[in-house]
């Protein structure tokens, strides 16, 4: 295996060509041996898996609007600044040579700190074993020189996999083209390195507000203020210690 560092790899999910076939959901489960998510008729359009979770690593949302039916395949964002990774006490979560974020299931102790840390609500603990699970961007396939299963299965290239910088360029061209065609509601989501998570490794072309798709409009890495908080905690501790010392000093 070639261990030389590679370019950052990512997903560009272009929802304007998604046909909602769910081949990504099935291919993901098939390759990664993810169990089913229960057989529940949810009566929410054609969505019966609900949301991303421990047992659903790709999730196709169906949004019924007046005369329009939006479909979008959601996935772990593989953030530049990944809070899940920051808070993991065991080192089970790590950043790979592809600049993706992966949980090592043999190291995860199921503490669950990562779950509330994720600003998108992606990572989740599996009830039956307590460990945390999420999309690995098919780390094993990538190491073998293959593209992730979902991108491979997508019939309309709604899910594109590749070097992130190339994907960002392609996405920019696509959104400009859609605008030129009069589809001015097209926008990119997660492509900017300046956003609250430093840009995502999996970003999207949406046709409506992120909230419509159940995505946070302005995600912020939950550990953003951690350093600041520790600094203030340090100042407070120091101050407290000083006050206590002052008491003793005064006594003496």
């Amino acid at each position: 295996m070639d261990e030389t560092p590679t370019r950052r790899m990512g997903f560009f999910t272009d929802t304007s060509v998604c046909i909602g076939c769910k081949a990504c959901e099935v291919a993901c489960k098939e390759w990664n041996d993810v169990p089913d998510d229960g057989f529940v008729f949810r009566a929410t359009s054609y969505d019966n898996t609900g949301a991303l979770g421990a047992d659903t690593w790709r999730h196709v949302a169906f949004i019924e609007q007046d005369g329009r039916w939006l479909m979008s395949s959601d996935v772990c964002k593989h953030c530049t600044n990944a809070a899940c990774l920051d808070v993991c006490p065991t080192g089970a979560l790590f950043r790979t040579e592809f600049d993706t974020v992966v949980v090592q299931s043999d190291i995860c102790n199921g503490c669950g700190y990562c779950v509330p840390a994720c600003p998108y609500g992606v990572i989740d603990r599996r009830e039956r074993d307590g460990r945390a699970w999420k999309c690995t961007m098919c780390y094993d396939r990538l190491r073998g020189g293959l593209e992730p299963a979902c991108a491979k299965a997508c019939p309309t290239t709604s899910i594109q996999f590749g070097p992130l910088d190339e994907l960002r360029e392609r996405a920019q061209e696509r959104v400009e083209r859609l605008h030129a065609e009069g589809r001015t509601d097209a926008r990119l989501y997660g492509e900017s390195p300046d956003d609250g998570v430093g840009g995502t490794g999996a970003f999207f072309l949406l046709l409506d507000e992120p909230e419509t798709y159940g995505l946070p409009p302005d995600p912020v890495v939950t550990t953003r203020d951690l350093g600041e908080m520790w600094r203030w905690a340090g100042v407070a501790a120091f101050g407290l210690a000083g006050a206590v010392a002052a008491c003793f000093l005064r006594r003496s």
């Binding site: 046909i19 529940v40 309309t156």
Partner: protein, 838 residues
Amino acid sequence: MAECHPVGYQWVMEARQRGAKVFHIDPRFSRTSATVDRYLQIRAGSDLVLTGALINYVLSNELDFREYVLAYTNAATIVSEDFRDTEDLDGLFSGYDPETGRYDTASWAYEGDTGQTDEMSEGDQRHAEAAGSDSYGARGAGSTATPPQDPTLSHPRCVYQILRRHFARYTPERVAELCGIAPEQFAELAEAITANSGRERTTAWVYSVGWTQHSVGVQYIRSAAILQLLLGNMGRPGGGIMALRGHASIQGSTDIPTLFNLLPGYISMPHAHRHDGLDDYLKREGGDTGWWGNRRAYMVSLLKAWWGDSATEDNDFRFDYLPRLTGDHGHYATVMGQIDGTVKGYFVVGENPAVGSANGKAQRLGLANLDWLVVRDLMVIETASFWKDAPELETGELSTEEIGTEVFFMPAASHVEKDGTFTNTQRLLQWREKAVDPPDDCRSDLWFYYHLGKRIRQRLGAGQVDPTDRPLMELTWDYPEEGEHRDPSAAAVLREIGGVDAEGRPLGSLRELKPDGSTSCGCWIYCGVYADDVNQAARRKPRGEQGPVAPEWGWAWPANRRILYNRASADPEGRPWSERKKYVYWDAEAGRWTGPDVPDFEEDKPPSYRPPEGAKAQDAIAGTDPFIMQSDGKGWLYVPSGLADGPLPAHYEPHESPIRNTMYGRQSNPARRTVDRPENPYNPALSPRFPYVFTTSRVTEHHTAGAMSRTLPYLAELQPAAFCEVSPELAEQVGLENGGWATVVTSRTAIELRVLVTNRVRSLRLGDTTVHQIVMPYHWGYGGGGLVTGDVVNDLSPVVLDPNVYIQESKAGTCDVLPGRRPRGAALRALIERYRDG
């Protein structure tokens, strides 16, 4: 298409990205509707009003591609003066017999074609009755090569004028009134397809079972054919009418048919009381002009493939060894025969009629009355387990103790566990290799039939051979066997299908087939699939390494042609209609047709060729006639014979409809086939007891009757329950709750489904009335090893059939809807009886 053919749909998405405008016309708003430019919601069962109005729009505005129409269609041909149109007879064509509900088609003939009709009519009538229009095979019906014509198109009995009169009543107003499509929506569609047709551009139509499963289904497709011929969209790149099939290789199973009335290559099955010998059969099976005039070569080569050395000139090449028809042996006739006890045994292979066929109860009553039943499938499907879990056990209509059917379940190998070909809708054969051995006792169908045949022959051959067993004993039944289970070689079978000469060398093309017994070929249209002793279907040259036609990917019948009738892509002189749509054209210098595809024409027949008097077969086809299978080489706007319900499409309401047919005095197709039996009661037309329209459908997540998807957790979880889609208006009217239960009632039975209330289904305003439509995917059943189960939607559908191909009308029926779950047991029967008695 996105819903049922997502992989093929990628090309539609790609075309859209390149600027193609896509319309979707469907009663339900599906994944396809979500991803096209315009969606038109239509009332189920009204499509012919729409296509008829499009034809009228083209004709009345003279937007037809006149040069194409004049040269390549039968627009100028003059029809017999005995012909009467629906305009003259208020919804009937001439020749209708109200006693039998059948047409005598003699008066539909071309002028002066009496010789042909006299010769064909007597026996033909009986044969047509037995076999539907498939009795005409690929040739269409017999006709002459040179019927009288009026190139000015002004003769009142020329096809063009008949068409104009016939379709004049199909107006945008009727479309609004019967389809629920507003005039401005219609105008946008009509303008788009006409603007996008002609020299420079072509338009394609794509349909699926939403068009076929109607009592007038064949005429729906005929109406598209008329439109495409008028607009010059046949035989040209980007044109055509694409039939999307129900699942992989359904095209292959009509080419090498599982249909009772066809032999391989659309050669009709002989009739017991009509055909005395090979000569007699061939004489009656079509005209001698056009490509079908070669049928002796095709038939004799087929007989040679089946009976080898035993088939000789002296014994009619064993023509008398072929089975014979005695009547309708189609699926529904067979089921009624089971109920009547005249059909004792039944093979069900890769099909699940207890869930997938109309009127599931009749299906199961038939199964329960057999002596024996063989089911070959991947799962123990409902058709195999009905004796212990059919809904009729709960209602008391069947009881396990009283079912005498001995069921043999034979586990089958899946497509990755065997070699073979898929033939897709483009007539493209693609070979696939076996990836893994099938587990345990699972075997391929090829293995099953080959070894079954061997065992039967072993038994029959033990003593003196009975003369009636000779056809079996003399069959060529010797293929190389491979592996532990002695699998017959699928490649050897394909080689036999592709044809060989007297020395056993594979043939290159169907033109090499001989009528004298010196060639053998299992299916003449597949001839050449093993040319040069190479499995041509296994070719996999990527599209990046060859031109856009990609002739070296797989192999398309016939002769590896990718577009049929592609002579029509050039003008009568053989020049491309335009540079943009250049495809196959005449190279005068080289003296041959050329282009990126295999010309669907004799390669050296110049455009100037005119047939001499008395010419036969292809020699009777002029250098300007692209439709070489037809006796006159023309595309048929008007069909003089070959159809059971009329030479032109006419709108009739579905057998069960809440709407009166305002087009004609005839409510439903006068020639439709009904099955009037207690097991198959109908909802009366216009009945207030059954006020809603239902249509059945499929969703991406499941496959047909569900045995291949309900059993897989990753698919079952995606659509875990049988459900119906209803509009908010209907939900409010009936009291249905999103996520709750609905009971859908017809005269056959009532079923319960989960409710999905959605704006995607809209109630249609038709003049003063509102029509509510209910959409029901039919993937669920009571068993089949399913992780998820549900009531059988097809239990609701009646058995009422298109008279040409005997397909059931499951895409438009009527029903009532009640909130909540259905009653159980005897209470369910009581509910249905109340509805029936009104």
